[in-house]
């Protein structure tokens, strides 16, 4: 499980003078579900195409189980792709599409027939084997594309935003199904998406990419709760940012001045010194909304309330004009829960739920708001 299957070393790619990937290093572990996450143009699709062999890197090497595959053409790489718009062959039936890869291996027809039946059963399409792709729904086409790619038992399956063409409900269903498939087949998945929710819920590890560089590589939980920079923090979810100044350091605790409020918090993992600026990050669900007469927290006014089903999101404008997003789970027994628009409240958080980042260049408040 923890062995490296595919390793990328110093992979660079340029298109007409523009660097799409910048000396990228990455190790993909055997059997993991790895997601490449990033905004459009971050290089994630290019990276996937490099893995598949449709593009050649300008420099760097790709090593698959110890073998250098940098210059091996796609048809001879033991990995397969599920394409974004599925790319099903329109002139072949469902069975013909799924059998294609085995035909290329010149397998005996009997074996092909059997494996196609198995593959179609696996994606619950056994009865549609003789249909043409255009007679299928989007979700069914998706399943055919997956069956077609996994039938060759690749070491690695590449999935290029495979769910982006599906509607929300089908998408959720396919996410679960993909996870199940991955567990059952034991194939390593490399999944490309720009949807952070999808990335967090499906992956063993997430690679956050931006402008051709890896911003962070870690488990969904690490990426979400302990982002290494503001970009990752903001890209993987809603974030409240409080600039703060270090007042004192006492062992593993530091005293901070957070917008005029004094807090005594756990010392961050990076070096801090007295007088330095740090960013305190809080996810909306870590924010507590208190009654106006509470004796701590920032005073503010509720300016927006959004009912989200299981949670209630409130946007609170603080007295200094900054806004804080709070996401609270319903507690029907709590009479104080329901605030009204314009109501005065205080916001705070439980010690230890915050995450701190050093102030880096370009972190000026709001610079990365998206």
């Amino acid at each position: 499980m923890n062995q490296t299957l595919l390793s990328l070393r110093g992979i660079s790619k340029h298109y007409g003078g523009r660097a799409v990937l910048k000396a990228l290093d990455l190790d993909i572990l055997d059997g993991e579900f790895l997601t490449l996450l990033g905004p459009s143009g971050c290089g994630k699709t290019t990276l996937l195409r490099l893995l598949a062999g449709f593009e050649r890197p300008d420099s760097g090497t790709l090593t698959l189980s110890g073998q250098d595959i940098t210059s091996i053409p796609p048809e001879r790489r033991p990995l397969n792709t599920v394409f974004q718009q599925y790319a099903l062959f329109p002139h072949l039936t469902v069975a013909g599409n799924v059998a294609y890869g085995l035909r290329m291996e010149k397998r005996p027809e009997a074996e092909i027939a059997q494996r196609v039946t198995e593959a179609l059963a696996m994606v619950q399409l056994a009865e549609l084997a003789e249909r043409k792709p255009h007679q299928l729904s989007g979700g069914q086409q998706q399943r055919v594309a997956i069956a077609r790619a996994v039938i060759k038992r690749p070491k690695l399956l590449l999935l290029d935003e495979p769910l982006s063409a599906l509607d929300y409900k089908l998408r959720r269903q396919m996410q679960i199904e993909l996870k199940r498939l991955q567990r059952e087949l034991g194939i390593t998945f490399v999944f490309v998406t720009h949807d952070q929710e999808e990335a967090l819920s499906m992956s063993d590890r997430v690679v956050v990419l931006r402008d051709g560089e890896v911003q962070q590589l870690g488990t969904p939980r690490e990426v979400y709760e302990r982002p290494t920079n503001l970009f990752t923090a903001r890209f993987v979810g809603e974030t409240n940012l409080f600039p703060a100044t270090v007042k004192a350091i006492n062992g593993d605790r530091i005293a901070l001045d957070v917008r005029g409020l004094s807090r005594d918090l756990r010392k961050p993992t990076f070096q801090v010194s007295v007088g330095e600026q740090v960013n305190v990050l809080l996810r909306p669900e870590d924010i507590r909304v208190l009654a106006a007469d509470a004796d701590y927290g920032f005073a503010g006014t509720v300016i927006e309330r959004n009912y989200k089903g299981s949670t209630l999101d409130s946007l609170i404008r603080l007295e200094d004009g900054n806004e804080v997003l709070a996401s609270e789970f319903f507690d029907e027994d709590d009479p104080a829960f329901d605030y009204s628009l314009g109501e005065q409240v205080r916001v705070s958080w439980v010690d230890g739920w915050e995450w701190m980042l050093p102030v880096a260049n370009g972190d000026a408040a709001g610079a990365l708001d998206g």
Binding site: S71, P73, E75
Partner: protein, 284 residues
């Protein structure tokens, strides 16, 4: 690249050798022949001379050429006059009907032009349909001579070539958006001013493409002149054919052909320039 190399190379080799052997080389030969000396036995013979080109402006041929050019020009003008409003009207027809009407328009491209030339002869002959009709109605007593005249050749050419004028015009009118005309009216231009200042400049590439597709064939389609024009109304095509096949004066036929090619090059250039003027890419 490694894997696709053999197939790719084979494809490129085949395509290139075909075009080089049957397009480039033959055309170079014609150019070479146009500078050769006349020799009924050999296609090419020395010395190199400009004699063929000089003979092109010999009064005998010059007369034929100017007459042919005149008939081709008349054909083109008539096609333009008929085709321009036609293309405009066609581009504004309900979309449901346009596909059918377009197919009706490309039918001539798919049908034998010699047979259709003959159909015109059927109408124009002294014992043909028009004369018969006019006589039976009593409008005329004796048949009018329509066949074997300049008019018959022009009528035949217009009939055959009109669709080739309409197709490129239709394309530019399709792209001519109504809001441009409305904008022009909105800015105070009247119907005439809008036509002159907006419609004509924007449809000019279509006009030139149409002229290109009509004018040159109208000089080359020798069988139209043969079937409808008789001995007096020859096209450049007839001269080339006679010199090549009957008189075996290859240098002269080649020179006449080079002349047509140069005319084509000039027209293609004009087309490219007119497209560039309105910001479209140059000739494909």
């Amino acid at each position: 690249m490694d894997e696709r190399q053999p197939f790719r190379s084979a494809v490129l080799l085949l395509v290139w050798s075909w075009l080089l052997l049957l397009v480039l080389l033959p055309n170079l030969l014609v150019i070479a022949a146009s500078f050769a000396t006349r020799d009924p036995q050999d296609f090419l013979s020395l010395p190199v001379t400009l004699e063929s080109y000089q003979r092109l402006i010999n009064p005998l041929y010059l007369g034929v050429f100017t007459h042919s050019l005149y008939m081709a020009a008349m054909t083109t003008l008539l096609c333009l006059l008929i085709g321009y409003p036609f293309a405009w009207a066609l581009s504004r027809v309900d979309k449901r009907w346009q596909t059918l009407l377009m197919i009706l328009l490309i039918v001539p491209f798919w049908t034998n032009s010699l047979v259709r030339t003959y159909a015109i002869k059927l109408l124009l002959a002294s014992n043909g349909l028009i004369n018969n009709l006019l006589q039976s109605v009593g409008l005329i007593d004796a048949p009018i001579t329509m066949l074997y005249t300049e008019g018959a050749v022009i009528a035949g050419l217009v009939y055959l070539l009109l669709p080739f004028m309409i197709l490129p015009l239709y394309t530019v009118f399709e792209d001519l958006r109504d809001d441009l005309l409305q904008a022009s009216h909105d800015l105070g231009a009247g119907r005439m001013a809008t036509f002159v200042r907006v419609v004509i400049p924007l449809t000019l590439p279509g006009v030139i493409a149409g002229v290109l597709l009509v004018l040159l064939p109208a000089m080359g389609m020798f069988y139209v002149a043969d079937v409808l024009g008789g001995a007096k109304n020859l096209l450049v095509g007839n001269v080339i054919k006679n010199q090549f096949l009957d008189a075996r004066d290859w240098p002269f036929g080649a020179a006449a052909s080079v002349l047509l090619t140069v005319a084509m090059a000039v027209l293609i250039l004009a087309y490219g320039l007119s497209r560039r003027r309105i910001g479209q890419e140059t000739v494909e």
